[in-house]
Amino acid sequence: MSRKFTPKVVTANDLLIGDVVYLTADNRWTREHHEAELIEDEAHAQLRLLDGAAQKNVVVGVYLADAIAGPDGPEPIHFREVFRTRGPSNYAMGKQVGELPGPRQH
């Protein structure tokens, strides 16, 4: 019996700023995990991974991350992916305060 497929999102880092991004169903890269396309079919996941990886001048380090359907869209499962959606624990920086990498916005 084949293994049950865990739904995925396609994720990467933005080439220019390094920020964590997710591939949407309409082929945009978004900073918000809940806007990502939740992929529930394994073959489709592989195709979407290829779609993402093909955008070599937009993003780097494209991979599939496990996710689950939530009330507002996909939610991460593994703690690493949870951290990637919010930023570091020690400072209010990054996604948790809507900041991009680069100099502190005053």
């Binding site: 700023i17 920020d19 499962i77 593994h78 951290f83 020690n90 996604k95 990498p101 100099p103 502190r104």
Partner: protein
């Protein structure tokens, strides 16, 4: 301290210009990521969890005030206003934009700094005793030798593509503050049969997934043989080191698999071959470098102000923990703690960097050091100036009196910043420090080194912590293993794993139980945690960590 000459300046400027072009070509699509990645890593630029990270070399941890101010300027202009000092005496900026990195490197070049060889399979930043040139126990300042090694190894054509990264540490004192026994090559200054200074050479130390203590490959190496002998070791490693498996590629594995005696034979054979090709130019260069490290003009003045200030318990506590003996009895070495309770170990804001630069300039003969324990040192402060230095530090949140105590923890960036990490380190370190501050036990407990790593690569040196903590991913949750009895000094030893790991919310209580077990079992307040552990063994500490197990055994 050493200042760049025209060659150094031109070399670094050329690298900045090259990398600027490479970044431009990556952004316009001329270079793929596969092509660009090795180029950015050669310039210290990583892509981490949330952003790029630029790692800047601070050779042997030595900085002047202008360099520190420039780091502050870089932090404010192109990052988020702070920098993170690391266990290899580097500084990391966690949030740069790709397009800004050439400007950051150019700003570094303006003050004689760079990010070359802070990544990649090459000889990394040569590290040293952070009290070098000041310590009372020192045979000789090791930094001229570190600088000689830096110049020799930078862009060395034979050693730019080694099997893996290569780390050299050097100390000029018998008390090892540079963890030399946990480096690929450790150089410990000793005196030879006629009293002349030279080096004991250790090889094959390292932490990571296979922790090993370095072994003595040469008991006494004359100073004039330093470069050819180091070159011989690297040459043998370059030939024998495994390139088939990155986890077995470090020289410690080569030494382990080949055997120390055979490694020694091969190194000596290679040394005999290349020694005649060194005609003394390296020694001429060394003489020039030595002149750059001439000690400052120490002043002769009364120390009454310091003696009087000791009546203040806050000052006294700081003096007891944060000052170390200087070779000049009127002076002290000041360690500035970057470990304020609840703050991130090793982080300094731009304002704090500027204050430390100002203090170094006004009171410290213009010298600053970064320690592998992630603190900043003012190596030469006259005791008359210590009260003023302390007051200024307190005003900037830098007056914490905790050097060598529980909250003076080494913590790697962990999963909050590092793409390789498997668990977080920083919040665990923050919570431990906060907890023991609440308990007001820290000074009663005394010397205790806790070191935490967020993955098996051991950047946080957990193997050589008296209490080591290793963060792992266990079935999708953060889990923390404890090791006990590690030691990173001249009596170095790898810690012993205590047992099963602890969940994130269990690790701070576990550390508290360990420390309480020490307090209960120590013979006297003078017996340190490490001494108690060596006397008692794992038993009482394991019982404290796993009380439920004890109950099961009793049943």
């Amino acid at each position: 301290m050493y200042s760049y000459n025209e060659f150094d300046e031109a070399f670094v400027r050329e690298r900045v210009a090259q990398f600027s072009q490479q970044v431009a070509r990556r952004i316009d699509g001329s270079l793929t990521e596969d092509e660009f990645k090795p180029l950015r890593l050669m310039n210290g630029l990583y892509l981490q969890l949330h952003a790029y990270m630029l790692r800047v070399a601070i050779p042997y941890g030595t900085l002047n005030p202008n360099q520190m101010r420039q780091l502050a300027h870089i932090a404010e202009t192109w990052d988020k206003g702070y920098g993170h000092f690391t266990t290899r005496q580097n500084i990391q900026f966690n949030w740069p934009l790709l397009k800004d990195v050439p400007a950051m490197l150019s700003a570094l070049a303006d003050v004689g700094m760079h990010a070359i060889q802070t990544s990649g399979n090459c000889v990394r930043n040569v590290t040293s005793d952070h009290f070098a040139g000041a310590a009372a126990d020192e045979i000789e300042d090791p930094r001229p030798y570190a600088e000689l090694l830096r110049q020799w190894s930078t862009d060395h054509p034979e050693f730019s593509f080694l099997p893996r990264k290569f780390k050299i540490a050097i100390t000029g004192a018998p008390n090892d503050r540079a963890v030399t026994k946990a480096h690929d090559i450790g150089l410990r200054m000793v005196r030879g049969p006629k009293g002349q200074p030279g080096f004991e050479v250790l090889v094959g130390g390292g932490l990571g997934r296979t922790p090993m203590i370095g072994q003595v490959v040469r008991e006494f190496l004359p100073i004039e043989d330093l470069l050819p002998y180091t070159e011989a070791i690297l040459s043998v490693y370059n030939l024998l080191g495994r390139r088939d498996n990155k986890y077995k590629a470090r020289i410690k594995i080569t030494v382990h698999e080949t055997g120390l005696d055979e490694i020694r034979r091969l190194v000596e054979e290679r040394f005999a071959e290349i020694r005649p090709t060194f005609h003394g130019h390296d020694q001429d260069l060394l003489e020039d470098i030595r002149a750059a490290f001439a000690p400052p003009a120490f002043r002769n003045a009364p120390t009454d102000a310091h003696d009087a200030a000791l009546a203040d318990p806050v000052y006294r506590a700081w003096a007891d923990t944060n000052l170390a003996a200087h070779r000049n009895a009127q002076y002290a070495i000041v360690t500035i703690s970057l470990k304020k309770h609840g703050e991130t170990p090793g982080d300094a804001t731009a304002d704090q960097m500027r204050l430390m630069a100002d203090l170094a300039e006004r009171y410290g003969h213009g010298e600053l050091r970064i320690s592998h324990e992630q603190n900043v040192i003012l190596p030469h402060v006259h005791k008359a100036d210590l009260p003023a230095v302390h007051a200024a530090l307190r005003g900037a949140g830098l007056g914490t009196a905790n050097i060598g105590l529980i909250s003076d923890m080494i913590a790697c960036p962990g999963m909050d910043y590092c793409a390789l990490a498997t668990a977080r380190s920083i919040p665990v370190a923050q919570d431990i420090a906060t907890r023991f501050d609440e308990l007001k036990l820290e000074h009663d407990v005394g010397p205790l080194k806790i070191k935490i790593s967020g993955c098996i690569n051991a950047c946080g040196h957990h193997h050589v912590g008296h209490i080591g903590i290793l963060g792992l991913d266990r079935a999708g949750v953060e889990n923390y293993q404890i090791t006990l009895g590690g030691d990173g000094t001249e009596t170095a030893v790898i810690g012993e794993r205590a047992g099963p790991g602890f969940a994130y919310d269990e690790i701070v209580p576990a550390i508290e139980r360990l420390v309480q077990a020490y307090l209960k079992n120590r013979e006297a307040p003078e017996e340190t945690f490490l001494e108690a552990y060596r006397r008692l063994g794992l038993g009482p500490f394991k019982a404290a960590l796993y009380p439920a197990e004890g109950k099961q055994d009793a049943a």
